[in-house]
């Protein structure tokens, strides 16, 4: 079989979706089959993404593995897929995380297991679709369709207040994406095509760019999320089942970041420059304000959710710092570092937040509480678990040697080039991040086990250990040797920086 001509991108979308639907056909009665089948599907999808990585040409400028057919010819809507150095790492992150959530659900989900597995597998396919779609309508379809399985995951397997959370989640994100649709339609009227790459090239006046930027901003800022449109996230996380939280934090937030890189920045570069200072300000508020808010959370999931928002502040900071640097220095050299740092931060946060939510899940499965005060002294009964969580907590605090350090480090280095005070404010995360993460760790893990339930906790089993070990491995690997990830994205990021440094106003 010739692997070179496989439609890998389509397979990455449809294999998990069809697999997911098949689990429904297998049905809840054959629980074991459902589990094994979904596991195999998730592994195969992951292997496909690995294959994609091996066949990907790091030095190639432009989209690779392109697939292009007419879908709705009368509107020139195409089934148009392709992958570049920005999408590839996110796809691998998606397929990797899917394995984790499938295994994590193994013994935990007891109602409607086939529906559960189906939701996650379909979600994976749709998320891959978002990352590879090059036709904006196709993108929009994947983007909105993604909400449905997530809505179901929180609504069916979620906590007691799940209805409020799902509606808030749905309305919040739907509200944003409607404006995106308007922007996409406007772009169609300009270019006569839904081709995203053509939109990126199309010249646009400043006013049009500003309106487009705002429309996209409403969609992506809610998703990533930026302050002040972040309040849906803590609620959604608290009510979501562990797997839902993992996908939400590890991948769905990255959709917002991806959107900025694929749409806002290249389509409206002049507006991005115009709004850069505002965006930088919002990012810094997210980093500091949310850091303080995270400090006082009493619910572990809420705390990690806030920590995610604060970490995403580095992503948006890294996206908009380059505009200032290019404007100030007239050279693109310094800008790349901020953008690549932001990409790294997205990937790394995927691993770390997934790990932390899984840790909370491990404890929740045993004690059915997410409140910090219900724990204390967990290390006495769960030493292996405590060791893993220590590593993840340190990674969350951005310790060098873990992946959590790399992105923050590069973004801070890069922001210093723009302004001392931006770097100063961003670097406060060193103190705040350590404070909220380790204070939580101290109260949950260290100390005497005062409650009897805590002292009788069972340590992690092989299944849980396997998941946490995988995550620990990648977090350390990318901390010690992040170079491979950067090699994948250099060409694409450089091209993006060159693109946004040119004005589109004629």
């Amino acid at each position: 079989m010739n692997l070179d001509n496989l439609p890998i991108l389509s397979m990455l979308i449809w294999l998990p979706i069809l697999g997911g639907i098949w689990t429904l056909i297998i049905g809840d009665q054959q629980e074991r089959v459902v589990k094994h089948f979904s596991f195999i599907i998730s592994i195969s999808t992951f292997l496909l993404s690995v294959l994609l990585y091996y066949q990907f040409d790091n030095d190639f400028l432009g989209m690779q593995f392109v697939e292009e057919f007419y879908w709705i010819e009368s509107f020139s809507i195409k089934y148009h897929l392709g992958v570049d150095g920005i999408a590839l790492p996110l796809i691998i992150l998606t397929t990797f995380t899917t394995i984790l959530v499938i295994v994590a659900a193994w013994e935990v989900i007891d109602k409607n297991i086939s529906y559960y597995m189906c939701s996650f597998l379909v979600l994976t396919g749709l998320m891959n679709g978002v990352f590879v779609a090059l036709d904006s309508i196709l993108f929009y379809v994947f983007w909105e369709a993604m909400l449905i399985p997530m809505f179901l995951i929180i609504g069916i397997w979620g906590g007691p207040n799940r209805v409020y959370a799902t509606i808030k989640f749905f309305l919040y994100t739907f509200f944003g994406s409607v404006f995106m649709l308007v922007a996409l339609l406007y772009l169609y009227s300009v270019t006569g095509s839904f081709n995203i790459q053509l939109s990126q090239e199309a010249p646009l006046g400043l006013t049009a760019q500003k309106l487009i930027f705002i429309a996209f901003f409403l969609a992506f800022a809610v998703k990533i999320p930026m302050w002040p449109v972040h309040t849906w996230l803590p609620d959604a996380h608290v009510e979501a089942p562990t797997g839902g939280s993992v996908i939400l934090a590890a991948i769905m937030l990255k959709m917002g970041g991806y959107g900025f890189l694929r749409f806002s920045l290249p389509i409206a570069p002049d507006a991005s420059l115009y709004f850069a200072n505002t965006m930088i300000l919002l990012s810094l508020i997210a980093i500091v304000y949310i850091g303080f808010v995270a400090l006082v959370q009493e619910d572990m999931k809420k705390l990690i959710a806030y920590s995610s928002i604060s970490h995403m502040g580095f992503v948006t900071l890294g996206f908009f710092i380059p505009f200032g640097i290019i404007a100030a220095t007239n050279s693109n050299a310094g800008a790349v570092m901020g953008m690549e740092g932001a990409m790294m931060q997205m990937i790394s946060h995927g691993f770390i937040s997934a790990a932390l939510f899984l840790c909370v899940g491990v404890m929740y499965d045993r004690l059915h509480s997410r409140m910090i005060k219900d724990y204390g002294g967990v290390v006495n009964s769960m030493p292996y678990f405590a060791a893993f969580m220590m590593l993840f907590a340190m990674a969350n605090s951005g310790l060098p040697g873990t992946s959590g350090f790399v992105g923050e480090f590069l973004v801070i280095l890069s922001s210093f080039k723009l302004n001392f005070w931006i770097a100063f404010t961003a670097a406060l995360t060193l103190i705040l991040g350590a404070a909220y993460t380790l204070w939580m760790y101290k109260r949950v893990i260290f100390g005497e086990a005062i409650r009897e339930e805590v002292s009788e906790l069972k340590d992690i089993d092989a299944r849980e250990g396997f998941i946490l070990f995988l995550l620990a491995g990648v977090i350390l690997l990318f901390g010690v040797w992040p170079a491979p990830l950067f090699d994948v994205m250099h060409v694409t990021i450089q091209q993006l920086i060159d693109h946004i440094s040119q004005t589109k106003i004629l």
Binding site: L413, F420, L430, I431, G447, F486
Partner: protein, 657 residues
């Protein structure tokens, strides 16, 4: 030859890492003995190889080694690399770190003998050795920062080693966060270096200093700062955190909650001196900022004197030694400020040996006293523990700078250097370090007399079981006593006259105080006798005498004296109020800000007003609209007729203008 040396450098860092991983991951299967053997062998390899490196680079003066091991990542045209710079400075640190660590590994067998976390402890201290070696061997700021934070991590893990103790897990969190405050400054310094030099490689930065000597940066509107000052101040803030300088010193006394071997290894001999090492390593940068040097002098002298004073009122044996560490770190910092980097490094080395010795001796006492640390419940231990007592005496004499001991040479050179310095802050610093000599002698001999002499104040149970510590404990004490006593005699000459550090340390000619001292140097014995012409020696003797008076001759004297100066005593007991201030302003302050932002900002404004507010207004609006869609056919028919009539009216009369 070089390939061969490269293997050695790599083995030096990897051997302890491997030991740590084996002991940590497979601790249960290899057992307690397995864990201590594998880590001790790892560190022993590291230590012996470090000696080879030392011989190669310091004694045989081989050329410096500066190469990358691998590229961490490339971004924005800059290669971030991991690599080694081996010169006399790093070679010296490597020997000190790996050797002290080796001794402490051995000591730990005895000290942690009954502890359930035995394997974990060995894993941690080996991991620490790895991180510290990465720090000192680095050839770039990235790896320096990695080592810097990694030693902080291990310090955090070890202070909280007894994780059930509330005070220990409070102390480790405090240590980590205070260190992070320093690291915050450090990171900004690194960012500034990258911005101006476009590299994080030490040598590349040093070679391009000329370009940015006079560059300025605007930080606050209209105020332009020298870039060098901004860089050096930021880096020094990092050093203040790690090397516990006022006001970032607060974590070090609390770190004594950890087991004693790590107080010796991490919180006395090695990690806390990382800041001193870093500034020495960066001497070409610091020489370009006189502002920073003055700042360093002030901070160092405040730490040297005022932290020493706190040692006078502590009754916990480990805390006395901890405050003495703070004070000695202050001495080293003062030397840095006076541009006597070599003297700071000299004191760092001698201090590493004698302070490790003092901590281990204190630890030996603590084991025998069944984990009692209050000196008021000790006394008269000399006859039960002669080896511990005598080695402790050696450490104490070195600490107070008794003529001939290693500490004498290093401290005397520092005091002389400050004396010769012409910086504005040097006057204040000189008097501070001079008074510090008296204070040091007083609290050191207070400790020595209260512990080993005088009335036996322990309870009967303990008293019956008094005995000398086991051989695994006393052997490291004896081994460490040798350099504590003699090292100065051997090092003083190459250091003052032999250009010991080669090109690793740079001092600009106008700051070169050490050359003035070396001009007056005429051999070791002359140096010792010459010291009797100056006050420090007499101040030390006076300190011993006063201690003898107060704690041997008239034991009720201190009590009476304290009553006279109750106010000052209270200030000292409260440690100048730093802890209280931090607790109220920073710890509770941050929580209050957090609660405010969470409850007011997120819940009330964003969710209450905007999100749920819009939801509510939609509901209000839709309630009105809903009334129209009643579902009754006659309502709709009525609406249709009204609409039709309106449209007709418009057609006939046109739209109203």
């Amino acid at each position: 030859m070089f390939n061969h040396m490269e293997t050695i450098y790599l083995s030096i860092v990897l051997a302890p890492l491997l030991g740590s991983l084996v002991a940590g991951l497979f601790g249960n299967s290899i057992g307690r003995a397995g864990a201590h053997w594998v880590t001790i062998i790892g560190v022993a390899i590291s230590s012996l190889l470090s000696m080879i490196v030392y011989k190669h680079h310091v004694i045989n003066s081989a050329p410096d080694y500066n190469e990358a091991v691998y590229t961490w990542l490339t971004s924005g045209g800059i290669d971030f690399q991991i690599g080694f710079l081996i010169d006399p400075l790093s070679a010296t640190m490597m020997v000190v770190v790996s050797f002290v660590s080796w001794m402490i590994h051995i000591y730990t067998i005895g000290y942690m003998h009954d502890d359930p976390g035995y394997q974990r402890f060995f894993s941690y201290i080996s991991l620490f050795t790895f991180a510290m070696l990465m720090l000192v061997m680095s050839n770039n700021f990235l790896q320096l920062f990695f080592g810097w934070e990694a030693v902080g991590l291990v310090s955090y893990l070890l202070i909280g080693f007894w994780y059930k103790k509330e005070s220990a897990i409070f102390a480790n969190l405090k240590a980590f966060i205070v260190n992070r405050v320093g690291d915050f400054g450090f990171l900004l310094g690194i960012a500034a270096i990258l911005m101006y030099f476009n590299t994080l490689d030490y040598i590349d930065v040093f070679n391009n200093l000329e370009q940015h000597k006079d560059t300025t940066i605007t930080i606050i509107n209209g105020e332009s700062w020298s870039v060098m000052t901004v860089i050096c101040l930021s880096l020094f803030i990092g050093a203040m955190g790690k090397s516990a300088q006022v006001p970032l010193h607060v974590w070090l006394p609390d770190s004594m909650e950890g087991p004693t071997p790590i107080s010796a290894l991490i919180h006395a001999a090695t990690m806390v001196t990382a800041g001193i090492f870093m500034v020495s390593r960066m001497s070409p940068l610091f020489e370009l900022s006189v502002t920073t040097l003055n700042f360093i002098l002030v901070i160092g002298s405040i730490t040297a004197l005022f932290m020493g004073l706190l040692g006078l009122v502590q009754n916990d044996i480990k805390r006395v030694v901890a405050y003495s560490t703070l004070s000695q770190l202050g001495y080293m910092t003062v030397a840095l400020g006076a541009s006597a980097y070599a003297a700071a490094m000299f004191h760092l080395v001698t201090h590493a040996f004698f302070k490790a010795l003092l901590f281990l001796a204190a630890g030996a006492v603590i084991i025998v006293m069944h984990h009692e640390q209050d000196m008021r419940k000790m006394g008269g231990l000399f006859k039960y523990m002669p080896i511990t007592s005598i080695t402790c005496l050696v450490g104490t004499l070195a600490l107070i700078g008794f003529p001939g001991t290693s500490g004498f040479f290093s401290k005397d050179i520092i005091i002389e250097a400050v004396h010769h310095s012409t910086l504005p802050a040097s006057n204040f610093a000189y008097y501070a370090v001079l008074s510090g000599v008296f204070v040091t002698a007083l609290y050191s001999f207070r400790l020595f007399f209260m512990t080993f002499f005088g009335k036996e104040n322990m309870n009967r149970e303990t008293w019956k079981n008094l005995h000398e510590a086991p051989a695994v404990v006393t052997t490291p004490l004896l081994v460490l006593a040798v350099p504590s006593l003699l090292l100065g005699l051997f090092l003083v000459e190459p250091l003052l006259t032999g250009n010991y550090f080669g090109s690793a340390i740079y001092v600009s000619p106008e700051h070169d105080v050490l050359s003035k001292i070396s001009a007056e140097y005429h051999g070791v014995f002359y140096f010792i006798t010459h010291a009797f012409l100056y006050p420090p020696v007499y101040l030390a003797f006076l300190g011993i005498f006063v201690a003898w008076l107060c704690y041997i001759k008239y034991p009720d004297l201190p009590g009476k004296f304290v009553n006279r100066i109750e106010f000052i005593h209270q200030i000292l007991i409260n440690k100048y109020g730093f802890d209280k201030f931090n607790q109220i302003v920073f710890a509770s302050g941050a929580r209050k800000i957090g609660s405010f932002l969470s409850q007011f900002g997120d819940t009330k404004i964003i969710d209450g007003l905007i999100v749920n507010g819009s939801a509510k207004s939609i509901r209000v609006f839709s309630n009105i609209i809903r009334n129209i869609q009643s579902g009754y056919l006659y309502h709709y028919a009525f609406a249709v007729i009204i609409g039709l009539l309106s449209l007709l009216a418009i057609f006939v009369h046109g739209l109203p203008h």
